[in-house]
């Protein structure tokens, strides 16, 4: 068993595949990040495949929607395995941070990700803003 943390990206439609493609496009890296989509899978089948991907390895499961079937399957896996973390609302900055720091221990990776979960919304009607009305 490897102690290196792996990322499992699970999403609706082709989101997981698309996000991995974007990570590879930007970094040239993708090792340590695997994908799974939920299309056509029962909750049991989704959980089983997720469990197979995780194995015994410490894992961060990145999912899109907190109320989606992917998130519930991930939480079930976490209930069984303490070395699994679930991150809902995945975005590209989170994945990039993970890719560059996945050799850290799981606790430290999660601490880093907690500081990167904010969403940047750039819009203001304030004329003094450097990005007015955008």
């Amino acid at each position: 068993m490897s102690d290196e943390v792996q990322g499992i990206l699970v999403g609706h439609g082709k989101l997981a595949e698309g996000m991995l493609d974007a990570v590879q496009e930007i970094t040239g890296l993708g090792e340590g990040l695997v994908t799974l989509d939920n299309e056509g899978l029962t909750p049991e089948a989704l959980e089983e495949r997720l469990g197979q991907l995780a194995g015994d390895q410490p894992s961060v499961v990145f999912v899109d929607l907190p109320s989606g079937s992917c998130a519930f399957a991930a939480r079930r896996l976490r209930h069984r395995q303490a070395n699994v973390a679930v991150v809902c609302g995945v975005n590209l900055p989170l994945l990039l941070d993970f890719i560059f720091h996945r050799t850290l221990p799981l606790d430290e990776i999660i601490a880093r990700l907690r500081t990167h979960v904010g969403v940047s919304i750039e819009y203001t009607t304030d004329g003094d803003s450097p990005v007015p009305g955008r």
Partner: protein
């Protein structure tokens, strides 16, 4: 009527229900009727953890659901009722809970003995028998995964399942 959707979906609470239907019909509470889930607090917590704070989730068994259904219908709040299979929804119907309520089949996925009827609907012999029971009871049943999708009525579903 405060029960806006009565849905059979093996994923129970998930994106299509909360976002797809919930955001279009409005949703204050979700009732998941399931004998097994009603006895499992950690699984109930798991589902609650994924819901927005303003949506309440309840997890009665079938007997409790039959008793409480009239109160949900009379409530000023808007709710969805979910079961993971046709048999559980049929038990609700037999208990008299579903009079004048249309049953939505929103997702039954591939499993041994089932074959693909629609992209979100796989049915086996047991499922077909359950649909025939609904037909004999005169229940209003249709398949539709999302609000904007075509509604497929029970007769057409049975034809597809027989084909």
């Amino acid at each position: 009527m405060a029960i806006l959707l009565c849905r059979v979906d093996d994923r129970l609470i998930h994106g299509q229900v909360v976002v797809g239907w919930g955001s279009q019909l409005g949703l204050d509470f979700l009732v998941v009727v399931d004998d097994e889930l009603s006895a499992s607090e950690w699984e109930q917590d798991l589902y609650r953890a994924g819901l927005p704070d303003d949506i309440e989730a309840r997890f009665p068994d079938v007997e409790a659901a039959i008793r409480e259904f009239p109160d949900w219908k009379a409530s000023a709040q808007r709710g969805f009722v979910l079961t993971r299979d046709l048999a559980t929804m049929r038990r609700l119907a037999e208990g008299g809970a579903l009079a004048e309520v249309e049953i939505n089949i929103g997702g039954l996925h591939d499993a041994p003995g089932r074959r693909r009827i629609l992209p979100y609907l796989f049915l086996g012999d047991e499922d077909r028998e359950e649909l025939l029971r609904f037909q004999r009871a005169g229940s209003a049943v249709s398949a539709q995964d999302l609000p904007g999708a075509r509604k497929i009525k029970l007769e057409e579903l049975l034809n597809l399942a027989s084909g």
